[in-house]
Amino acid sequence: MISAYFIHLLILIGIYAILAISLQLAMGFVGLFNLGHISFYAIGAYTSALLALQGFSFWFCILSAGIIAMLFGFLLSIPTHKLKGDYFALATLSFSFVIYAVVLNWTGLTRGPLGLPGIPKPIIFGFNFANNFNFLILTFAVALVSYLIIKKITTSPFGKVLQAIRDDELAVKILGKNTFKMKFYTFGISAFFVGIAGSLYAHYITFIDPSSFTLWQLIPVITIVIIGGLGSLKGTVIATIILVLLPEPLRFIGFPSSIIGPARQIIYALLLLLILLYKPRGFFGKVELE
């Protein structure tokens, strides 16, 4: 029997994989360095949690999480569509601060820093996912479907246009293509999947508060995307597995959890720095950016 702890790690891998491949779609395939990604995760988690606490069934909650996150994705794409590089990153960063501030301060809806406890474990058409092993299967199924859909998008002619935008947006426009529309879709699709990941997270942990959705939580995801290599979905999945497991030995060596938390963050941030310095294309990266 697989140990309970290992199942827990596998569930995290599944959730992080969705977070990372959806960011990879925006960052690696379209060149959108979207620091607002974590906000869509928050929006998905809160949407799903709030609906579930109202008694809505899980499948409705998770779909709504994806759709509401997607709507916010569309929304963010509008003011940012002319921004490039650092300005784009800064604008999406501001967006993530706004969403964080709303989640923290709209206490009537989110209970602010107190968070939302008691989020029910999923039941789909009578099938109960309270058991972690069942939840793992659900997570992997959702992650697999997300992977296949994003893979299909990136290899389709539509995906080729996205990659062309990453390489040279003006040249795409000169060929007569509406790049605003392309980025609008990408924002929505990327946000949809990360919204779904947020829902899974909320129903798995059964408690969410604003601290799960800060920029700190995005750093491991960015690290995964860069280590996996821009433009590589396979690399992203492999990097997810490695990075989720990497800090685990700390626990077995016997560090207290009060140290493990910050240590993880330092490890991820350091890794990001090292990879940017020594292997900027990551391990499976196909893309060279000027």
């Binding site: 002619p157 539509f158 040279d168 426009k173 000169i174 293509k177």
Partner: protein
Amino acid sequence: MLKIQNLKKHFSGVKAVNNCSFEIKPQAITALIGPNGAGKSTVFNLVSGILKADAGKIIFNNKNITNSSIEKISNSGVSRLFQQSRLFNNLTVQDNFLLALNNEDTKFWSSFISLRETSADKKNKAAKILKLITMENFADTLARDLSYGQKRLVELGRAILNPHKFLMLDEPVAGVTPKLREKIAEILLMLKNRKETILLIEHDMNFTFKIADDIIVLERGKVIAKGKPSEIKDNPKVLEAYLGE
């Protein structure tokens, strides 16, 4: 085909294009020449909608396209080559070509649902252009791995493939070997035989005089002369503009 009327574009004091007017005849090669900084590329950027004009009008096929969006202008039939390389570097030569063919690929659902591969017709068109630029063996090469000359050829091919009624080429032969220069001249003359309308920016007078039907000379954002190559050759104003550079 293309009519430019009193076009004006200033960059904080620099009068890049200053009351510029000219007209392009269809089915001919017109060359836009002039010393460095004369405003040639700026005229191209205004026509293709990358820059907004301060004043003046751009009429294409009897339609006012002044300050239209880049995509709209492109889809009304203007294709162009940039002075600096603008290939999709992380895509293959073939993909660079397929992207130019039409805009079906920007439709999400039809692209997502469609299980069929890129149509044979599209691939045929791409293959033809590969042959034209004699790069048949490079279909699957990433654009970033090409030499400078090959990049220019692929970009020229992409501009030709992009559906158009009017082709604007910004220094297609600058910096390439004499041999490649010959080849590009051949391609342009072949296009002319196909009744294409081309506006060409070229710094090298010999090259221009050899292939252009009409010449427009720009200096400091203004047209200082226009006519047949033979008329331009001995025009003292043109000689002065070039020699005084």
